[in-house]
């Protein structure tokens, strides 16, 4: 196995009855890469992602995440990845610190590690003043950033982000992407689904799913050249219309 390929997927398929939600997709993601996983609603990207993070069993095909097989080692995968879902998923009735402590705890960090990490994290996000406030009282953008930091708390090899910037203002989105770049720079692989085509431009490589299949996979630049358009939005429209 190539050490640099942290996600290896081959002919991965998920059937719901006769319907192939994910139809024999094949791709690799390299270490430290920001991999954009694009597709219209219902194209199958969430289903594909769920198989990779070990909460949905594939019907057939092969897939390895962080070197572990999704069929046999789903539990090991869970230890090596971070996940942030499209629904904001911290606890509103817990304070910032309590949320960090809780999620650090379930990923098996020691009390000392949690203490150090939460200090750094709160400083970086500039949350010193609200560290003991309930998360429910924070603006959505802050929550989103906190949620991302919490997903990175246990230094996962790969972080999966499911539409992380939905409903967030452009400035916060920008800051969010800066955080993603920083994580990638530190060697964390980022696997991100998004609806925003301008965000797709920030990715190292993107794949575009249509009806359960990956129809295109390359760097944003090459995709634009290939389809002879100026932006990712047009790439997407061209593919989806076919």
């Amino acid at each position: 196995m190539n050490k640099n390929k942290v996600i290896q997927v081959e002919e991965l398929t998920k059937m719901f009855g006769d319907f192939a939600a994910v139809n024999a997709i094949t791709f690799n993601v390299e270490k430290g890469e920001i991999f954009g996983f694009l597709g219209a609603n219902g194209a199958g990207k969430t289903t594909a992602m769920k198989m990779l993070i070990g909460i949905s069993k594939p019907t057939s095909g092969k897939a390895a995440v962080a070197g572990y097989d999704v069929f046999t080692n789903a539990e090991d995968i869970k230890k090596s990845i971070g996940y942030m879902s499209q629904k904001f998923a911290l606890y509103d009735d817990l304070t910032v610190k309590e949320n960090i402590t809780f999620f650090g705890g379930i990923y098996g960090l020691s009390r000392k590690q949690i203490k150090e990490k939460s200090k750094v994290l709160i400083e970086e996000l500039g949350l010193e003043n609200v560290a003991n406030k309930l998360v429910g009282a924070l603006p959505l953008g802050w929550k989103q950033k906190l949620s991302f930091s919490v997903a990175l708390l246990h230094d996962p090899k790969i972080v999966f982000l499911d539409e992380p910037t939905g409903g967030v203002d452009p400035i916060t989105r920008r800051q969010f992407w800066e955080m993603i770049y920083k994580a990638a720079h530190n060697g964390t692989t980022v696997f991100v689904t998004t609806h925003y085509m301008d965000e797709a431009e920030y990715c190292d490589r993107v794949s575009i799913m249509v009806n359960g299949k990956i129809e295109a996979l390359n760097t944003p630049k090459k995709l634009k050249e290939y389809f002879k358009v100026d932006n990712m939005n047009d790439v997407f429209l061209k593919l989806a219309r076919e």
């Binding site: 909460i55 949905s56 990845i81 996940y83 499209q86 629904k87 998923a89 009735d93 999620f103 309930l134």
Partner: protein
């Protein structure tokens, strides 16, 4: 283990920061026990009655004195004509009127029978029935005194003796029932709501992606409620002992074990409900309609099962609460040991195992 403790800590934060769940957990048991103990009662005490005495002689006076001397009644009004009866009933305070016929004493002596009409306000049929029984009893006793010297050839004197609840205190009947309801409510409803809440918020997904095993997640969610249910049971038993002076005849240890058994079966039901409902509202509706109503109506706590139509009697057998009510009534009121309630206990154990197996099977490890 450390993860587990962190999880439970988080669960307690949820509970203690939500006023509604706090109220259900601690306000409800106390309020219910107080309500059933003080307000809702089958006993009568100082019921206001009125007298319509057409004869006003020695006998009627003796009877009236006897009645007013009892603590059950207080004579509140004396009326003079039939038409007043309706008027005072309409005022609502008077619950019964005693109407002595004209020449009561004379009739009794000469013709050996006299008529006393007891008119009760039956808008509340239970109370009306109780009142007329009590008045009849007082009259019987008076008759016996009158006939003291006369030897009747055959006489049957029924002697009713109430056992186990000699004072006929209704709170004795309600404590086991309220305990059943509360344990069911806290264990089944609260857990099913708290699990579906995580589903609704999307945090369940995060938990399942984490290294926590699915069963750890569920045990972690359920554990605080086991603990709180036990506290509730203790509070209820303490209230009934110290406020209502209701003794627990049997072994407290056995009572605790049986309660834990019931709590576990209710928790399994709660998990089962959470697997079939997607939102907190659904979970709450299913818990209320599917669990609370049968517990209240069919467990035999308010309505005796033996007087239900046969189909309902059969249905009542599949309700765990029915068996638990029998068990704790046995322990609390009769002071029986396991040798008398092992059958019910076994049924409850069987049901618990069944519910746990079913909910484990239903619980979707992988969110599809």
């Amino acid at each position: 283990m450390k993860r587990f403790i962190g999880f439970i800590k988080k669960e307690f934060y949820h509970i203690f920061r939500d006023r509604r769940s706090l109220f259900i957990l601690f306000g409800m048991p106390i309020a219910q026990i107080m309500l059933f103990g003080f307000a809702i009662t089958n006993e009568i005490n100082n019921v206001d009655i009125a007298i319509l005495d057409h004869s006003k002689d020695a006998t009627t006076e003796a009877i009236i004195n006897k009645i007013s001397a009892s603590t059950y009644f207080s004579i509140n009004e004396v009326i003079t004509k039939e038409s007043d009866i309706e008027t005072i009933f309409k005022k609502g305070k008077i619950k019964a009127v005693l109407n002595f016929e004209k020449d009561f004493s004379k009739n009794l002596i000469k013709e050996h029978n006299a008529t006393l009409q007891i008119i009760t306000d039956a808008t509340d049929p239970n109370t009306a029935n109780t009142i007329s029984n009590y008045i009849n009893a007082i009259l019987q006793q008076y008759q016996k005194e009158l006939n003291k010297d006369v030897k009747l050839a055959y006489q049957i004197i029924p002697q009713t003796r109430m056992v186990y609840n000699r004072e006929l205190k209704s709170v004795y009947m309600f404590v086991p029932g309220v305990m059943t309801i509360i344990l069911m409510l806290v264990s089944a409803m609260m857990t099913s709501i708290s699990i579906t809440r995580e589903k609704e918020l999307g945090t369940m997904e995060i938990l399942l992606v984490s290294p926590l095993k699915p069963f750890q997640v569920i045990v972690g969610k359920v554990f605080p409620y086991i603990f709180l249910s036990i506290i509730n049971a203790v509070v209820i038993v303490m209230l009934s002992i110290f406020i209502f002076k209701m003794p627990v005849q049997g072994s407290l240890f056995l009572l605790a074990l049986e309660s834990i058994l019931f709590i576990v079966s209710a928790l399994a039901l709660g998990i089962l409900i959470s697997t079939i409902s997607a939102t907190q509202q659904t979970a709450m509706m299913i818990s209320l309609m599917g669990l609370m109503l049968p517990v209240i109506l069919l467990s035999g706590f308010i309505f005796p099962i033996s007087s239900m139509p046969l189909p309902l009697q059969i249905i009542s057998n599949i309700i765990p609460a029915k068996w638990f009510v029998i068990i704790i009534k046995g322990i609390m009121l009769k002071g029986v040991g396991l040798q008398f309630i092992w059958k019910e206990t076994l049924i409850l154990v069987g049901m618990t195992v069944f519910f746990i197996a079913l909910s484990v099977k239903k619980y979707k490890i992988r969110l599809e």
